[in-house]
C-alpha cells in the first residue's frame, strides 16, 4: 500500500514539473487534471477498510478535479482564444529548475520534521510541500490568468495532500466543503477570465495592475 501511494505521489511530483515546463495552456490544464485524479484516489488507498463515505468523496474529487474544473478551464481558454503562455515573468527553464530544487528541498526538509512514524516513510509531506511550491511558482511567474488558476489548483492539491495526513481525524465533510469552494471558485474565475478578455482584449493580468478613472 505504501509503495503504491509513494508511486502516485511521485507521479504527482512529476506532473508538477510538467506543469512548470510546458508553455501550452492545454498541457498545464491536462497536468492539473491528471494530478487531481491521481490525488483523488488516494483516500481509498489510505483506508484499511472500505468506507462508502470515503469512496464517495474520492469519486466526487476525481470527477470535480479531473473533469469538471478542467472542462471549465478549457471553455474559458476557447472563449478567450489563447493557446499558450507567451512571456512568463519567470522563464520556463528557471521555473523548472526552481520547481526541481523545491522538490528536492521538500524531500530533504520533510526528514527533519517530527512526523508520526506511520507517515515518516511516505512521500505525503514532501509531495504536499512540493505541490504548494509549484503552485506558488505558477502563481507568481505566469501572466495569463488561466495558468494562474492552474497554479492555484496545484497549490490546493498540495494542501489536500497535507490534509490526507489527518484523514482519520477530520470529518470528510470538510473535504467536500473545500471541493465545493474550489468548484465555485473556478467557476467564478472562468467568468472573470471572460470579463478580462472582453475588457482588455487579452488575458494578460499585468494589465490589471494599472488603476484608471
Amino acid at each position: 500500500m505504501g509503495s503504491t501511494m509513494n508511486l502516485l505521489i511521485g507521479l504527482a511530483m512529476g506532473l508538477n514539473l510538467l506543469a512548470l515546463g510546458s508553455g501550452r495552456l492545454s498541457a498545464i490544464i491536462r497536468a492539473t487534471a491528471v494530478q487531481g485524479v491521481v490525488l483523488g484516489v488516494m483516500p481509498l488507498l489510505l483506508e484499511y477498510t472500505f468506507d462508502w463515505m470515503v469512496a464517495l468523496v474520492a469519486l466526487v474529487t476525481v470527477a470535480v478535479k479531473g473533469f469538471v474544473i478542467p472542462s471549465l478551464l478549457r471553455r474559458a481558454m476557447r472563449a478567450a482564444k489563447i493557446q499558450r503562455e507567451e512571456e512568463p515573468l519567470i522563464g520556463f527553464v528557471p521555473s523548472l529548475l526552481l520547481g526541481a530544487g523545491g522538490t528536492i528541498a521538500a524531500i530533504a526538509g520533510a526528514r527533519m520534521l517530527p512526523l508520526l512514524p506511520e507517515h515518516a516513510g511516505t512521500l505525503l509531506v514532501p509531495g504536499s510541500m512540493a505541490s504548494i511550491l509549484t503552485g506558488l511558482i505558477l502563481l507568481i511567474g505566469r501572466v495569463k490568468a488561466i495558468s494562474q488558476v492552474c497554479g492555484y489548483l496545484i497549490l490546493e492539491n498540495g494542501i489536500y495532500l497535507f490534509g490526507l495526513l489527518l484523514i482519520h481525524s477530520t470529518p470528510l465533510l470538510v473535504e467536500s466543503g473545500i471541493l465545493l469552494d474550489l468548484t465555485v471558485g473556478v467557476f467564478v474565475i472562468g467568468i472573470i477570465v471572460d470579463r478580462i478578455q472582453r475588457a482588455f482584449d487579452s488575458l494578460d493580468t499585468r494589465k490589471l495592475t494599472v488603476l484608471r478613472e
Binding site: G21, G23, V93, L96, A100, I104, I107
Partner: protein, 301 residues
C-alpha cells in the same frame, strides 16, 4: 594473441553494424509515412560512394580540416571499445574508464567543431556554436546519469556499473538518457538530420564544407555514436550482463533495435523544437537523471 583477435573482431562488429542504425530509423520513418523508403543499407552505399570521391579543400583551411574528422572518428571508435557489450564485457576495462568514455565523446565533438571552423564559413561557425551550446546541457545530463549509475552500484568501472539493473530509478534514467541520445545524435526534437535549410541546421551546418572521404568518416563516426548511445541506454535498463552469452547478445540486439525504432517513431510523430525550447527539453532530461541520482542516493543510504 587471443586478446588482439577478440579486440579486432569487436571493433569490426562496431564499425560494420553502426551504419545499420540510421538505415533502420529511415525505414521506420518511411513506414509511418506510408512510403517504401530507402534501403536499410543506404548509408553503406553512401559511405562507399563518398570514399571514392575526391576532396574539395579550401585554400584557407589548415590540415585540421582533415585531421578533425579523423581524430573524432578514432575517439568515437575508442569510446566504442570501452563500452561493454552485455555478457562479453568491454574490450578495455579499467577503474574509471567511464570518465575516459565521457572525455572521448567530448574530444570527438571538439574535433568536429574545430574542423567546421577551419574554412571560416559562416555556416560552419553557426553550426559549431549551436552544437557546442546544446552539448553544455546534454553533457551535464550524461554526467549526472553516469553519477547515478556509479552511486547505485558503488563502482566506477563501466562494465560493473552496467551489470546491475538500476531498479526503480531505471525508468527515470532511461527517459533522461533517451533525451540525451536524441540531442547528442542530432535527432528530431533537437535537430532535423534531413533538413537542408541552412538557418535551422545544427549538425549538418557544421559539416557543410566537408566532402569525399572526410565526410564519409564524419557520417560513419556519427553512426558509431548513435549505436554507442543505444547500447548504453539498453544496458542501463536491462541487466544484460547477467544473462548467458547467447541470451544476453540477443537481448542487447533486440533492445538496441527497439531504441532505434523508438527514435524513428519520435522522428515521425513529433516536429522539430524551436531553438529556444531546446534548453527546456535538455533541462528536463537533466532533471530526470538528477532524480534518478537522488533515488540512488536514497536507496544507498
Amino acid at each position: 594473441m587471443i586478446i588482439a583477435l577478440e579486440s579486432a573482431v569487436r571493433l569490426a562488429v562496431w564499425l560494420l553494424l553502426a551504419p545499420l542504425l540510421p538505415g533502420v530509423i529511415n525505414k521506420v520513418k518511411a513506414w509511418v509515412a506510408g512510403r517504401r523508403g530507402p534501403p536499410v543499407l543506404q548509408l553503406y552505399f553512401d559511405l562507399a560512394r563518398l570514399w571514392r570521391k575526391s576532396v574539395v579543400m579550401s585554400t584557407l583551411a589548415s590540415p585540421g580540416f582533415v585531421a578533425g574528422p579523423a581524430i573524432a572518428w578514432v575517439a568515437l571508435a575508442g569510446a566504442a571499445m570501452l563500452m561493454p557489450l552485455g555478457p562479453a564485457g568491454g574490450a578495455i576495462s579499467f577503474k574509471g574508464d567511464v570518465l575516459l568514455l565521457v572525455y572521448l565523446l567530448a574530444l570527438a565533438r571538439f574535433c568536429t567543431a574545430w574542423a567546421a571552423l577551419e574554412t571560416g564559413s559562416a555556416f560552419g561557425g553557426m553550426g559549431a556554436a549551436r552544437e557546442v551550446s546544446f552539448a553544455v546541457l546534454s553533457e551535464v545530463a550524461l554526467i549526472t546519469a553516469v553519477l547515478a549509475l556509479s552511486v547505485q552500484t558503488g563502482n566506477i568501472t563501466l562494465s560493473e556499473m552496467l551489470s546491475l539493473s538500476v531498479g526503480s530509478g531505471a525508468m527515470l534514467l532511461a527517459a533522461g538518457l533517451f533525451g540525451v541520445l536524441l540531442a547528442e545524435n542530432c535527432r528530431v526534437p533537437f535537430d532535423d538530420p534531413n533538413t537542408h535549410l541552412e538557418l535551422t541546421m545544427v549538425h549538418e551546418a557544421m559539416v557543410l564544407d566537408h566532402s569525399g572521404p572526410p565526410f564519409a568518416v564524419i557520417l560513419h563516426g556519427a553512426s558509431i555514436k548513435l549505436l554507442l548511445f543505444a547500447v548504453l541506454l539498453s544496458q542501463v535498463v536491462l541487466p544484460v550482463g547477467k544473462l548467458s552469452p547467447l541470451a544476453g547478445t540477443a537481448t542487447l540486439a533486440g533492445a538496441v533495435l527497439a531504441v532505434t525504432v523508438c527514435v524513428g517513431l519520435v522522428e515521425s510523430l513529433t516536429a522539430r523544437m524551436a531553438f529556444r525550447r531546446v534548453p527546456l527539453i535538455l533541462t528536463a532530461s537533466f532533471l530526470l537523471c538528477l532524480f534518478a541520482l537522488l533515488l540512488a542516493l536514497k536507496g544507498g543510504a
